[in-house]
C-alpha cells in the first residue's frame, strides 16, 4: 500500500458563526490547499452529518465542489453520524493509497447554531436507534446511562470526569480556533445543572458551527498517515455486550495500530472524542493509551494536561474547541498536524506521533487515525 501524506491542513474558528456552511467549508478548504501548494485536487470528499435537516440542502458534495470552483472535480459525501469527518479522511486515504487519486481534498463542517437547542438535539438524535429514541433517549440520555454504569463499575468519580472539562477549557484558552476561550473551575463544573444524571451541563460539548479541511497526497509531505482504522458496534445501546467501553473504538485502534506497525507507547499527543467528558477517559483506555481504570486518576494528576506526560486534546477537544459534527474528525487531525509540525503556537507540545479518535453516533461507527511526523 502506498504511503498517504497530509500536505495541507486548515480550519475556521469554531463557535457561533454567521457565514453559510459552504462559505465556512470554502475557508477551511482554501487554507488547506494553500498550505499544501496544490491548486486543484483530483477528488473531493465532503463530510457533513445532516445538511438536509440543519440547512434544508442535499446533494452536498456537488454543492461544495461547485461553491469552491471545482465543479469538474469528482466529489462524494460520506456520512457516519458524528464521525463523518473521520470517515471522510478514511475515504480520502483509501483513494490515495489505492492510487485512484494523487491529491484529495477532505473537507467537513456543520452549521447548527441558527436552530434552537431542542431542534438541534432532535436532529443529532436521528443517529440513535428508533426504538430507544421513542423512549425519549437523546445523546445526553444514553451518555448518562453509560456514565452511571461506568462510575459504578470502575469507581470513577465525579471529580475525575469534571477535571476533563477543566483541562480542556484550559487548553482552549490558548487556541484561537476554539469555541470557548474561558477557563472553568472544577467547582463550577461540579455545580453546573444536571442534564442527564450524573452528567452535568459542563460535562457536555457545545453546539458549534465550523469547518476543517486536509489535503491528502501521494507525494511526500511533513506528516504521514501511519495508520487508520474503523470499528463498529450495534446501533442499539441495549444490544451492546459492553456498556462501559466502546468496542467500536477498540476495533478501530487495533486496526490503526496494526497498519502503523507500532503500539500505543509511541503516541505522544492525542485528540479524542470528548462529546461528554467521561468519553475522553473511555477513549484513553479503549485506545490503549492508559490501562483500564487508570485514565481518571491520570487526568486528576495532570498526566494528560498540556505539560503532562501525554497531552490529550491540546485543542480543547469537542468540549471547548467545539463540535460542528462533520468538521470534528477532521479538526482533530488538523490539530495533530499543527502539533507535529510546530505550528500550534501557545499550545505547542513536543510530539512526533499523534492519535485521533472519533465517535460516530453513540459509538456505533468509530475511527482511529495515527499520524507521524516525517
Amino acid at each position: 500500500m502506498a504511503s498517504v501524506w497530509i500536505s495541507g491542513a486548515g480550519m475556521t474558528p469554531f463557535g457561533r458563526r454567521t457565514q453559510s456552511l459552504p462559505d465556512l467549508m470554502a475557508d477551511a478548504a482554501r487554507a488547506a490547499l494553500t498550505a499544501s501548494g496544490i491548486e486543484v485536487p483530483d477528488a473531493i470528499v465532503v463530510a457533513t452529518m445532516n445538511p438536509e435537516e440543519f440547512l434544508g440542502e442535499g446533494n452536498f458534495a456537488s454543492r461544495i465542489a461547485t461553491h469552491l470552483g471545482f465543479a469538474y472535480v469528482p466529489a462524494i459525501r460520506v456520512e457516519t453520524a458524528t464521525s463523518s469527518g473521520a470517515a471522510a479522511i478514511f475515504a480520502g486515504f483509501t483513494a490515495v493509497a489505492s492510487g485512484t487519486a494523487r491529491a484529495v481534498l477532505v473537507v467537513g463542517g456543520e452549521r447548527m447554531t441558527h436552530l434552537p437547542t431542542p431542534r438541534v438535539s432532535e436532529i443529532i438524535g436521528r443517529s440513535i436507534d428508533p426504538y430507544e429514541r421513542s423512549y425519549g433517549a437523546t445523546m445526553p440520555a444514553l451518555a448518562g446511562l453509560i456514565t452511571r454504569a461506568l462510575m459504578a463499575r470502575s469507581g470513577l468519580s465525579a471529580r475525575e470526569i469534571s477535571q476533563v472539562a477543566v483541562k480542556n477549557h484550559a487548553n482552549a484558552v490558548r487556541n484561537p480556533y476554539a469555541h470557548f476561550r474561558a477557563p472553568v473551575a472544577l467547582a463550577a463544573v461540579m455545580a453546573s445543572r444536571l442534564v442527564a444524571d450524573p452528567l452535568r451541563l459542563f460535562h457536555c460539548c457545545p453546539i458549534s458551527d465550523g469547518a476543517a479541511a486536509l489535503v491528502l497526497t501521494a507525494s511526500r509531505a511533513a506528516v504521514r498517515i501511519a495508520g487508520i482504522g474503523q470499528g463498529t458496534d450495534a446501533l442499539a445501546v441495549r444490544h451492546r455486550q459492553e456498556l462501559t467501553s466502546f468496542r467500536a473504538t477498540q476495533a478501530a485502534a487495533k486496526a490503526a495500530f496494526a497498519m502503523a506497525g507500532f503500539g500505543a507507547d509511541r503516541v505522544e499527543v492525542a485528540e479524542v472524542h470528548d462529546a461528554f467528558t467521561p468519553f475522553e477517559l473511555i477513549a484513553l483506555e479503549d485506545t490503549g493509551l492508559f490501562p483500564p481504570g487508570a485514565a481518571g486518576r491520570a487526568t486528576l494528576d495532570g498526566e494528560t494536561a498540556l505539560d503532562g506526560r501525554l497531552p490529550v486534546n491540546p485543542s480543547g477537544g469537542l468540549k471547548a474547541r467545539g463540535h460542528p459534527l462533520g468538521a470534528t474528525g477532521i479538526a482533530q487531525v488538523v490539530e495533530l498536524v499543527w502539533q507535529l509540525t510546530g505550528q500550534a503556537a501557545d499550545r505547542q507540545v513536543s510530539a512526533h506521533v499523534g492519535l485521533a479518535q472519533s465517535i460516530g453516533g453513540l459509538a456505533t461507527n468509530n475511527f482511529v487515525t495515527l499520524v507521524e511526523a516525517a
Binding site: 431542542p118 426504538y131 423512549y135 440520555a141 442534564v195 442527564a196 441495549r238 456498556l243
Partner: protein, 147 residues
Amino acid sequence: MPPPVIDQIQGSRCPQCGTAVVPPARFCPWHPVAMAPVSLTGLGEIVTFTTLHSPPEGFRSPLHIALVELQGGARLVCHGEATRGIRIGSRVAIEAVDRVYYFAHLGALDRARLFWRRAGRRGERLEAIARSWAKRLWKGRGRDTGE
C-alpha cells in the same frame, strides 16, 4: 403503592447464538440469521438508569429512563415514575402501558407476593385485579401526549 404487575414481553431470539432482543427484530444484530419469536417474563435487573432534565418534545421533565436486563437475557429501555431507591442491580417488574414499558421497584414484600402468586390460581386472580388497578394509575403518566 400498588403491587407490581408482571407482563409478558415479546421479543426474538437468535437460533445461532441465543441472543434475545426486545422488541422483536428480523435478524440477530450479530449474525445474518432470522430470529424466532420469544415471550419473556417482565422481571429483571436495573443495568443502569438516568434522569433527563431537558427531555425531547412530547416527554415530561424529569424523564426517568432505565436500561433493564430481563431474566431471559434481553435488555430493554423503559420509563419509570421515579428513581428513588433504585440502584444498579435493583430487581424490577416491567409493565406495558399502551405498549410503553415501565419499570417498578420490587421490594421484599413484592417479591414475597410474587412467590405466592406463582403458587396458585387465587394468586392469578389477584394479579389480574392488581394489574388493572395499576394500569389505571400509570396511564397518562410520564408522557404529555399519547402515541
